[in-house]
């Protein structure tokens, strides 16, 4: 039985977190959350704790047809979701979706081009699905840090996950989306129900004169946009964590926390309105709101420096958002592989792996993908089939079983730290809410595909959460899609005011 090489153990030791470390992380996160929730300190808080304006959780009886857009880390999707079967199967649903590519030049180009791309994809989807004339509520999942100012208004705080479009940060992404759809041209202003004579006159003029400017103003003013006779009613913009929570809550009434560990990481939870210093709306029942913590930025003010390693600092310095999202960079899939690669590079160059003979592929930044970690840790103990395949892909020769064992250990240390850090965050939220029994909805590629992440998180939360709190980590299905539809459904159900009246 081979043991781990001494030098490998030594190099990896600085990534191992003790119980004391984790308790300290929890305590510091709790303080940052309190700062984020408070009106006086939110401005300078790193964990912003934005209220989502989503107050009602689904109860399983939501019905109707909804569009959803999902702009996230790896995909852009358009979905058409029909919720609700009959009384016997209330949580039945049907879904059509399409995945669209987002090329790098759009990820890094002007924001207008990104939203034009989204509008084009939406139009393509509507045409391809031969959708008929109808009014469809739309939920827009925008999986980046958002400061919501209402259910249909949210400003991008900062780009993450490799995106860097100009002209979007601090802008209302719903307005940008609506403008992009209007820019497509060919959008026909249909004659709407007349709200008053002024509206009717203006609408009539716009129709007769095909005056694009007036049409744009009207479309924005009325919050109505039309593609191919389908009237799109943007009634919610949300973060993917909110969608994850809603999707799980549809099936589990105890669900109160949403967690994403994928390309990035974030969490949301249900908070009492009395604790939300930024709250600027009514206090009717339920006197609670989902808080989008944006906890990826935890540590940006230095409170995590006590556990950062040189590898973490290296990853941060080379990233597109240097100095930001420090907690995220210790946990999420976008960065985990690179941390492991940096360790392997050091060990190889010091002569402790692969007989000291590396390869250009091993030494190339970004070339050790996070999925490699999951694949290597999926090998049965003592077997190295996946490990060997990964190392061969990196053009490494002279791979011994000892090398494979050591490489696996490096991967385990990196992924375990990530799981423990995420667990510390969840335990912090559970303790803060103080509810006896909570379901935590989880999604994200790291959680889904890593063979041990769920168990590592569960055992760590068990140690860190207050005694008496019961919890379950549950994989949430399609929070970005179905969750968006559910947010839109709940929003429509609770909407009041003149906007509710349709033709």
């Amino acid at each position: 039985m081979l043991g781990i090489s001494d030098k490998v153990l030594e190099v990896c030791s600085e990534l191992i977190l003790s119980e004391k470390h984790l308790n300290e992380v929890m305590e510091r996160l709790r303080k940052e959350i309190v700062k984020g929730l408070s009106k006086e300190t939110n401005e300078t808080a790193t964990v912003k704790c934005f209220p989502t304006y989503v107050r009602n959780l689904p109860n399983g009886k939501e019905r109707g047809k909804f569009l959803a857009l999902d702009l996230g880390g790896t995909n852009f999707r358009v979905l058409l979701i029909e919720l609700g079967g009959d009384n016997r199967e209330p949580t039945k649903f049907k879904m059509q979706s399409k995945i669209y590519a987002i090329p790098q030049n759009i990820m890094l180009g002007p924001g207008e081009a990104l939203f034009d791309h989204i509008a084009d994809c939406l139009a393509t989807f509507i045409i391809e699905n031969s959708m008929k004339r109808e009014v469809l509520p739309l939920g827009f999942t925008f999986s980046f840090p958002l400061r919501q100012e209402g259910l249909t208004k949210a400003r991008l705080v900062t780009w993450t996950k490799g995106f860097k479009c100009a002209g979007v940060e601090n802008e209302d992404v719903v307005r940008l989306l609506k403008e992009a759809i209007c820019r497509r041209g060919g959008a026909e202003i249909d004659i709407m129900a007349i709200l008053n004579d002024t509206t009717g006159t203006l609408m009539s003029s716009a129709y007769r004169n095909h005056n694009c400017k007036i049409g744009l103003i009207l479309a924005l003013w009325l919050s109505m946009i039309i593609i191919q006779d389908v009237e799109i009613d943007v009634c919610a913009v949300l973060n993917d964590t909110t969608g994850t929570l809603m999707s799980c809550a549809w099936l589990n009434p105890n669900c109160r926390v949403g967690l994403i560990v994928g390309t990035g990481t974030n969490a949301c939870y249900v908070e009492k309105l009395e604790n939300v210093g930024l709250w600027d709306s009514d206090y009717n029942e339920p006197a609670k709101v989902i808080i989008n913590t944006e906890w990826g930025a935890f540590g940006d003010n230095g409170v995590l420096d006590f556990i950062l390693t040189d590898y973490d600092r290296d990853v941060d310095e080379q990233s597109i958002n240097r100095g930001k999202q420090l907690y995220e960079k210790m946990i999420s899939g976008m960065y985990m592989g690179e941390i492991a690669r940096l360790i392997l590079e050091r060990l190889t160059k010091d002569g402790h792996l692969f007989n000291g003979q590396g390869s250009d592929n091993l030494y190339k930044r970004g070339n050790f993908f996070t999925k490699y970690i999951s694949e290597i840790e999926s090998d049965k103990p003592g077997e190295y089939q996946n490990c060997r395949q990964v190392l061969e892909e990196l053009c490494l020769n002279y791979i011994t079983d000892q090398d494979c064992k050591d490489v696996r250990y490096v991967c385990e240390v990196v992924s375990k730290r990530a799981a423990q850090m995420a667990a510390a965050g969840v335990a912090c939220l559970l303790n803060k809410m103080g509810e006896k029994s909570v379901v935590v909805a989880v999604d994200g590629s790291v959680y889904r595909f890593h063979p041990h992440f769920h168990n590592l998180m569960t055992e760590t939360i068990n140690r860190l959460a207050d005694p008496g709190i019961k919890f379950d980590l549950m994989l949430s299905e399609d929070g970005s899609g179905r969750g968006a539809a559910l947010v839109a459904a709940v929003a429509c159900h609770n909407r009041t005011g003149p906007g509710n009246h349709r033709r």
Binding site: T74, G337, S359, N361
Partner: protein, 421 residues
């Protein structure tokens, strides 16, 4: 004709004269050495795979010719012996030379666990982006000008000064030198005057391999359509947007015209720049195979873009990973077409899994001499448009290979060996 005969005689006479009078004429004007660039299979360190030498100018074979090399496609040389391809029998267009079926090979393969300290095989597939993208592949691609014809040839059909492209016959030189010879004139295909030699240089391996693959694919497409009936559609996935894959797309447009409305074609792009290249072809879906995504995500995405499982996958630069991914996207009874270069090593690994789902993995060789002749005509007549290419001086080969390994060159890279005519 009599002039050429005289010229050949004069060359022979001159050569003899020089040999005879060597001691007394030290100031010979004959060029004895020329430069050669050798490109080996890219390994762990890229700087170790490109070499430059001075080599003797080869003598003119009595039954062949000597070519002054003008352009050469940037390809690497396989380290192992190339598999036997029958050049002696000229293949017709419809025959598929050297197809390897699964059943014949598996029984002889020993799949043992590697010993504890065994180094991995030196001929492993490099996982460089450019190789997986089919931007860099093994081959021999030379276009140039006939400089001398063998003395025993009485009815050449090709003359000194003709522009030609060289079919990669068994025994081609190891590397690209400024002069090369062919033992038989049949290996030379005349290039029309209007076709640039840099375009011609793309044909003998890249385009030829892609052509043979598309023709193999078409046979399967016709069979699948027959089985599926009138409303059936065949879904074809081409992996990569490097030079080989781009040729495949263009050749598909040409050879699949008569069944075009029944074929759904998708391209798996490994690099974002490839999306624009792929979309040049009309009616092609694009699916991003970002390597940083988990396998299941990519498989789901691929099936989504084609509304279901794929019938045929064409993957020139396949690795264990991409073949595994392709097989998971393939339907029951589906076919994966891979290059003969990697088939030898991957078939044993995947054959059992493929059999379970009645899938076939077929290796495709570079095409025949007749196919090369057809290619030249197609390109010359404008029926087939070449992919984009860039010409580089041959002394920049090292840098060119590095860029190709990272898929930084769109389309093909061509090495130029003499100053522009």
């Amino acid at each position: 004709m009599p002039e050429r005969v005289d010229e050949a005689l004069e060359l022979a006479s001159s050569s003899r004269g020089r040999v005879n009078s060597m001691p007394s004429q030290p100031s010979s004007t004959m060029n004895k050495l020329c430069r050669q660039v050798s490109i080996e299979s890219p390994g762990p360190l890229l700087k170790d795979c490109v070499f430059s030498f001075d080599v003797p100018v080869p003598d003119v074979p009595v039954t062949g010719a000597r070519i002054r090399v003008e352009c050469a496609g940037a390809c690497y040389r396989l380290r192992r012996t190339p598999s036997q391809s029958s050049i002696s029998s000229v293949s017709s267009l419809t025959s598929m030379p050297s197809l390897t079926s699964l059943s014949g090979d598996v029984s002889t393969i020993c799949i043992g666990a590697p010993s504890a300290s065994a180094p991995s095989h030196p001929n492993q597939t490099p996982a460089h982006y450019g190789v997986r993208d089919a931007a860099l592949f093994p081959g021999y691609e030379v276009a140039g000008i006939v400089e001398a014809i063998g003395e025993e040839i009485t009815n050449p059909g090709i003359g000194v000064g003709d522009k030609v492209v060289v079919y990669p016959y068994e025994g081609v030189p190891h590397g690209y030198a400024e002069y090369m010879t062919v033992p038989d004139l049949q290996y030379l295909v005349k290039v029309p005057d209007l076709m640039p030699l840099s375009v011609a240089a793309m044909l003998p391996t890249g385009a030829l391999w892609a052509m043979n693959t598309i023709q193999v694919a078409k046979e399967h497409i016709i069979k699948i359509l027959h089985d599926k009936g009138d409303s059936g559609k065949v879904k074809v996935l081409v992996v990569g947007t490097g030079g080989l894959a781009l040729w495949a797309l263009r050749l598909a447009q040409h050879y699949l015209k008569d069944v075009g409305d029944k074929v759904l074609l998708a391209v798996a792009c490994l690099r974002d720049e490839g999306i624009l290249l792929a979309k040049e072809a009309a009616n092609v879906s694009v699916v991003q195979w970002n390597e940083d995504c988990y396998e299941r995500t990519l498989i789901e995405r691929t099936k989504d873009s084609l509304d279901g499982e794929v019938d045929i996958v064409i993957d020139f630069g396949t690795t264990s990973r991409s073949l595994h991914r392709s097989l998971q996207c393939l339907s029951k009874g589906g076919i994966a077409l891979i290059s003969s270069e990697v088939a030898e090593r991957l078939l044993p690994k995947f054959s059992r899994r493929a059999e379970e789902r009645q899938q076939s993995i077929k290796s495709v060789e570079v095409g025949s001499l007749d196919q090369l002749r057809e290619l030249v005509e197609l390109v010359a007549s404008g029926q087939l448009e070449p992919p984009p290419h860039t010409v580089f001086p041959a002394d920049q080969a090292k840098e060119v290979i590095r860029k190709l390994c990272n898929s930084e060159i769109q389309g093909r890279a061509i090495l130029r060996f003499h100053s522009i005519d």
